[in-house]
């Protein structure tokens, strides 16, 4: 089936699964999982170097092959997030950024006021902004209006593995914006990713669901297949749901077994 590419700020991607770099058992497992996921975009945090500076995570990511997506994880204000993006750009990580402005430590839910402000500023400064937001269609539209290249509503809290808790809101978000919608956070297993894609989302971003699985590489492949399956199913147009059965075999031509 012909499919279009995922377009983010003019850059095109064939893979619709974006993966992270945290919590892996080892750097080798991470590298294999990235490969198995078929990902093209990999998100990284920006942190203080340990001194003396030793091994880098980029020793395990082929930067010619993958697009790096620096994130502002751990930022609790628009100002911190904006400065982190500038640092990432100056570090040579590009201008695609996964923008997080966290509002609460326990839930890691976004501070949407700060998020909106940071999105507006960064988009004006030429960044391709991918904001992690809640599953609120009104905020999604405001982020789009502020210049976001896509919107990334959470399926459930970060790292929770609870899946897509409010598929109806995700549906409404899809109808509310024209930019790509990428579910970010909450995916626990392959069916969650498939559901996100079946709803019509343009992609899924996940970290813990793969990195935290007992076999991260196997789960990465499962996620790749799930995202592809969900995308196909979404494009194929599913049948309607009905309460009662509809036979799929003709009723005519049945043999007569009466005695």
């Amino acid at each position: 089936m012909y499919d279009t590419n995922l377009v983010l700020g003019g850059k095109e991607f064939t893979s619709r699964l974006i993966v992270g770099t945290g919590k892996y058992a080892s750097m080798e497992v991470m590298r294999e999982a990235h490969e198995a996921a078929g990902a093209e975009i990999i998100t990284v945090a920006v942190r203080r170097v340990s001194l003396p500076s030793g091994e880098s995570i980029l020793d395990y990511i082929d930067t010619k092959r993958y697009t790096l997506l620096p994130n502002t994880a751990g930022c609790y204000t628009a100002d911190e997030a904006i400065r982190t993006c500038y640092l990432a750009r100056e570090a040579g990580l590009g201008d695609l950024v996964k923008l997080e402005v966290i509002g609460d430590q326990r839930t890691l839910f976004p501070d949407v006021m700060g998020l909106l402000e940071a999105t507006r500023t960064l988009a004006r400064e030429g960044f391709i902004v991918m904001p992690y937001t809640n599953d609120d269609p009104v905020m999604a539209r405001k982020l789009q209006d502020a210049g976001a290249a896509c919107v990334m509503p959470l399926g459930a809290p970060i790292g929770s593995g609870l899946g897509i808790r409010n598929p109806y809101n995700i549906k409404i978000i899809l109808e509310s914006v024209t930019v790509p919608v990428i579910v970010d956070a909450g995916v626990g297993t392959a069916s969650d990713a498939a559901i996100a894609m079946e709803l019509g989302c343009d992609g899924v971003l996940m970290n813990t669901a793969i990195a935290g699985a007992q076999d991260a590489v196997a789960m990465a492949r499962a996620m790749k297949l799930a995202v592809e399956a969900g995308r196909l199913a979404s494009k194929a147009g599913r049948i309607g749901k009905k309460l009662y059965a509809t036979a799929s075999s003709p009723l005519e031509g049945l043999p007569d077994w009466t005695s």
Partner: protein, 68 residues
């Protein structure tokens, strides 16, 4: 003079530049960025920016992470 580098106090020669500090600490330049007192320093300016007493220097690079 005293400065702070990634949250740790450090005693350095007065007039040390960002470039000098990075060399002193043997920091890999690739995919690294520096901020002094919250302002991001452009790579091209490393040699020109002189550190002052009490400056807070942050040296960062990509690390493993997905989301907060």
């Amino acid at each position: 003079m005293k400065i702070s580098v990634n949250g740790k106090p450090m005693e350095v020669e007065p007039g040390l530049t960002v470039e000098g500090l990075l060399t002193l600490l043997d920091v890999k330049r690739e995919y690294t960025a520096v901020a002094v007192n919250r302002e991001v320093i452009r790579k091209a300016d490393y040699g020109a920016v002189k550190l002052s007493e009490g400056d807070k220097v942050e040296i960062v690079r990509p690390m493993g992470g997905g989301a907060s």
